[in-house]
């Protein structure tokens, strides 16, 4: 689904450096775990709501260790993130997925007593940026009260963001809900409902995840904050409800994607040209290959007039009973579930059609270049010192905040235009680097080259490659590339002879991980 809000990085690594980078991008996350001087603490209030809140929130300290995509066989140095988790029904602690991304150890800590318990992730979904945790010892939560969700918020309502002081007291920041929109969620830019709060927050330690509450009920979780505009983006209660419903199912289905991109039809010349006399409607500018929309038969150039019985205006919004005019993606992504069928009313070449679209969530294995690779190791194969990987956005993001300009451009373009590749293209397998060895003489300077064939076999993923290198041609490993130098040869027998030496020299744990 089209997301009109630009993706805003939300603290992939929680360190001050990253914080400055995101500040330039406009949106800053609060989420530093570096020691930060807390501002002057607001005097603790002891009203009923605060007491209720203090019985439902606790510190979550997560030690995270992402993989190093430049050296895919190793992990980077661990770091910790701290946030506030909220106890919800069923003995679960709700946090943002980013808080526990690549976690190696999670610890719950009660604010008042500093009592601690280890915890595990019961379910995490990076598309909606939510996770539920469970303590190792269920009795740990015995003196706490679960918080209920509040989906009834309206623009103009006031809400409170909770933070913890060093002394364990709860600090409250009251803000106003300024807008309710469908916006991009950080990890995958999936368009889901957001509450946007205007609130003058102070930077405090341990603020990676913060609950936003109203009358002792949970409105959502703060996932990013722009210090300049004092705007907080809140993962909304309807998205949390959707996530929890899926968590309770036997098989987690997550969030569906229709798989289309639309543009507005405000332009009267365009409307007259396509003969669109109906009011409203959006122009379908792209149907993603393999998506629910494509399977249902939606086509580029169709005009979507209504979704699930709700009339769509020329900007792609419908009138939601609860939230006002919001994007129809809310109907398909959050209010519907994978497996549901949603009727689309379409204007096509002068006719009006009703097309049922069966919603599916995305199959990550079919994605050419994944936008996130979390909690699992990147795949690689090393052959005689040549390192092969599959393209993913985290690899490109190793070049830093300006990666679209600094990372190898061909790979950036493959990532950006992956939807335009032939359907059977598979993954982009490439040589990420050369570990110089006697077998790679003359190849030392090669890197970031896309592989087309190995030993005359087409390569659509690393499994193909691992298989192909078992079948040298005339004693050579023959590697064909999409770009110069075009072809590489290695001595198959020499590689085998030298491989123990290579493993030892470069301290490789293995020659491949698939």
């Amino acid at each position: 689904m089209s997301a009109s809000i630009p993706s805003t990085p939300a603290g992939r690594n929680s360190c001050l450096r990253r914080l400055f980078q995101t500040a330039i991008a406009g949106i800053v996350c609060l989420m530093s775990n570096e020691p930060v001087l807390a501002g002057v603490a607001a005097p603790p209030k002891t009203d009923k709501a605060t007491v209720a809140a203090s019985q439902s929130v606790l510190r979550v300290n997560s030690t995270n260790q992402p993989y190093d995509f430049f050296r895919p066989w190793t992990k980077k140095a661990p770091f910790s993130r701290r946030g506030l988790g909220t106890l919800i029904a069923g003995g679960r602690i709700l946090v943002t997925a980013e808080l526990v991304a690549n976690s190696t150890f999670i610890e719950l800590e009660k604010a008042a007593t500093a009592a601690k318990s280890a915890a595990t992730v019961e379910r995490v979904d990076y598309e909606c940026n939510l996770a539920v945790l469970r303590p190792a010892d269920p009795a740990f939560l015995a003196d706490m009260k679960p918080m209920e969700l509040d989906s009834g918020v309206r623009v103009g309502d006031r809400a409170t963001i909770l933070q913890l002081e060093h002394n364990g007291e709860i600090a409250q920041t009251v803000g106003t809900v300024t807008s309710i929109v469908v916006g991009g969620y950080p990890m995958d830019n999936l368009g889901l409902l957001l509450f946007r709060l205007s609130a003058p927050m102070q930077q405090r330690d341990g603020s990676f995840t913060l609950p936003a509450v109203r009358n002792g009920r949970l409105l959502g979780l703060l996932m990013r904050y722009d210090a300049r505009s004092q705007t907080a983006d809140i993962i909304s209660a309807p998205v949390i409800e959707h996530f929890l419903k899926e968590v309770n199912k036997a098989a987690y289905g997550g969030f569906a994607r229709v798989g289309l991109i639309f543009t507005m039809t405000r332009d009267p010349q365009l409307r007259r040209y396509i003969g669109l006399k109906e009011p409203g409607g959006v122009y379908l500018s792209e149907v993603l290959p393999g998506s629910s929309a494509q399977k249902a038969g939606l086509k580029k150039g169709d005009v979507i007039l209504a979704v699930g019985g709700k009339t769509i205006d020329q900007d792609g919004n419908y009138e939601d009973e609860a939230f006002g005019r919001i994007s129809f993606s809310h109907l398909t992504n959050t209010m519907s579930f994978p497996g549901d069928t949603v009727p689309f009313r379409i204007f096509r070449e002068g006719n009006i059609l009703e097309i049922p679209v069966k919603l599916e969530s995305r199959d990550p294995s079919k994605v050419v270049s994944e936008s996130y690779v979390v909690d699992r190791a990147p795949r690689f194969v090393v052959l005689g010192g040549i390192v092969f990987m599959e393209l993913s956005r985290p690899y490109l993001q190793e070049w830093g905040g300006d990666w679209t300009k600094k990372a190898p451009q061909r790979l950036v373009f493959y990532d950006a235009f992956q939807n335009e590749l032939p359907q059977d293209r598979g993954k982009i397998v490439f040589i990420s680097q050369i570990l110089p060895s006697p077998d790679t003489i003359g190849y030392e300077d090669l890197d970031n080259l896309v592989v087309s064939k190995v030993n005359n076999r087409p390569i659509r993923n690393l499994d193909d490659l691992a298989e192909a290198i078992r079948h040298p041609v005339d004693g050579f490993q023959k590697i064909e590339l999409e770009e110069d130098p075009g072809i590489l040869f290695l001595d198959a027998a020499a590689i085998e002879k030298n491989q123990d030496h290579l493993i030892k020299k470069y301290a490789l744990p293995a020659l491949q991980r698939l």
Binding site: Q269, Y273, Y283, E286, A416, D484, G486, I487, D491
Partner: protein, 490 residues
């Protein structure tokens, strides 16, 4: 020889050319015999405006050096006299500047020939003669007008190395250069470098002090002689090129797999560019063994006399229509081919160009422009699709599909185009079903009468639709409101 080499292009960003806005300094030195050959060149130039392409562009002044050679000609750098609107030259010790004009200009090797129509000008001057390639470590003297002085300046240094280097004026060409350690500064450009009274080079580029110390570059005489020979027929034909890429062949396994001996000879052809000299003659995967009979080492060099030089040097010395003989190994079999040489057109798109008016078409307030290096330098578009199409134009042979990249470069906002503003830098695919391959296609498509003009853009999903009546009604309004003096330059 054109080299696709992003690494060196990157370096170019930090190189500067010795071209300077005039700073006037007084001096009273005594000048030697060189004074009868050296000239100081003042150039008033006009930079084309790629953001408002109908405008004539900004006028600026610059200063460089030059010297008199046979035939009442003045040799200098192309970058000293690029985009010239008015030129004067002044002899050393003669206060009177005389109007001059460009006779030939070669942007691919940064050289230009000027003349002065005033017949008295060359009286009493001495035409300098050319020498060869000076030996490494031998001493040379650089003459010119660095940092804007009115009196000639001399610096001295030794020849540090002879090498192929990118020429930053075009940004795409590499030729032989000689690196010297004499101080060369802005204003020296176009000045002669002498050894034993003969010209051994033209000072032309270097690095700024924070990048490297005592590194200056001069254009050596093989490049100068080639230029002078090329223009003998009355026009400059540009360098010719093999239009292929090749890779060193060091790896022993690769050598055996390709059926080569362990003799350190041969380079592997990576790509052959369509439209270039070698298309249809040489293939990717061929191994080049010798060029005009000179064996090619596996590091892509040949032995020319005493010197080891890049194999391209053979082609460098040839002219349009000349042939080059290649010994190749294809599929293990030796083969000899002849390649008739021509200039490689797709490379022009990625070169800085000069003395050209920006081309454009305006229709309904939409500005359409072909994309080239000048356009990219002026606009710096972030659009990924445009950047891909430009950067990989040659490597991915995109020129086969579209000889020119036409983009919607801007919108002169008006009610007629109120909803077209989101598509800046989108590449134009079709207008009313007609494929757009060149700027002339755009002009043609808009000349045809239609109720609607439907402009299909790459990657935007929806077309831009303009109604003929609305465009006609808006035309005069847009032209007068934005001061547009002409609607197209094809």
């Amino acid at each position: 020889m054109n080299v696709v080499n992003t690494a060196s292009l990157h370096r170019l960003g930090r190189m500067f050319r010795f071209f300077l806005c005039a700073i006037l300094l007084a001096g009273t030195a005594h000048a030697g015999p060189i004074a009868k050959s050296l000239v100081r060149i003042e150039c008033t130039s006009q930079e084309p405006n790629y953001n408002a392409p109908w405008n004539p562009g900004q006028v600026s002044g610059g200063l460089g050096s030059g010297f008199i050679i046979s035939g009442n000609r003045i040799l200098t750098n192309a970058h000293v006299v690029s985009n010239a609107r008015f030129l004067t030259v002044a002899k050393e010790g003669d206060p009177k500047p005389r109007p001059a004009r460009v006779v030939f200009i070669a942007h691919d090797c940064d050289l230009a020939l000027l003349t002065v129509d005033d017949p008295g000008f060359f009286k009493g001057t001495i035409a300098l003669e050319f020498g060869g390639i000076p030996a490494i470590e031998s001493t040379v003297s650089v003459y010119g007008y660095p940092i804007g002085g009115k009196r000639l300046s001399v610096t001295q240094g030794i020849v540090s190395r002879v090498d192929f280097q990118p020429y930053s004026h075009s940004g795409m060409d590499s030729h032989l250069v000689i690196q010297i350690d004499a101080a060369i500064n802005p204003g020296n450009s176009g000045g002669p470098v002498l050894q034993d009274g003969k010209v051994v080079g033209v000072a032309f580029q270097g690095y700024s002090g924070d990048i490297a110390q005592s590194v200056g570059y001069m254009i050596p005489t093989p490049v100068i002689r080639r230029f002078l020979t090329d223009v003998e027929d009355g026009k400059y034909d540009r360098y010719v090129d093999l239009s292929l890429s090749y890779e060193p062949l060091f790896n022993p396994a690769a050598r055996r797999a390709l059926g080569l001996k362990d003799d350190d000879l041969g380079v592997l052809v990576g790509s052959v560019y369509g439209g270039g000299s070698s298309e249809g003659i040489v293939q990717a995967g061929d191994v080049l063994m010798a060029i005009d009979g000179l064996p090619i080492s596996s590091d892509a060099t040949i032995q020319m006399g005493e010197d080891s030089v890049p194999l391209a040097e053979v082609v460098e010395r040839k002219f349009k229509g000349d042939e080059v003989r290649l010994d190749i190994v294809r599929g293990g079999q030796p083969l000899q081919v002849k390649v008739p040489l021509r200039a490689p057109w797709p490379f022009n798109l990625q070169s800085n160009t000069y003395d050209e008016d920006p081309r454009f078409v305006i229709f309904g307030g939409l500005i359409f422009q072909p994309v080239d290096q000048n356009f990219m330098s002026a606009h710096h578009p972030d659009d990924l699709r445009l950047r891909y199409t430009f950067d990989f134009f040659i490597e991915d042979k995109l020129y086969k599909e579209r000889p020119e990249i036409i983009v919607l470069s801007g919108v002169l906002a008006d009610p007629v185009n109120a909803y077209a503003g989101d598509f800046q830098y989108a590449i134009v695919e079709e207008i009313n079903g007609q494929k757009i391959r060149r700027l002339t296609d755009v002009a043609e498509a808009f000349q045809k009468s239609a109720d609607y003009y439907v402009i299909t853009l790459a990657g935007t999903g929806r077309p831009i639709v303009l109604e003929r009546k609305a465009v006609e009604a808006a035309r005069e309004r847009i032209l007068s409101r934005y001061g547009v003096t002409r609607e197209q330059n094809l």
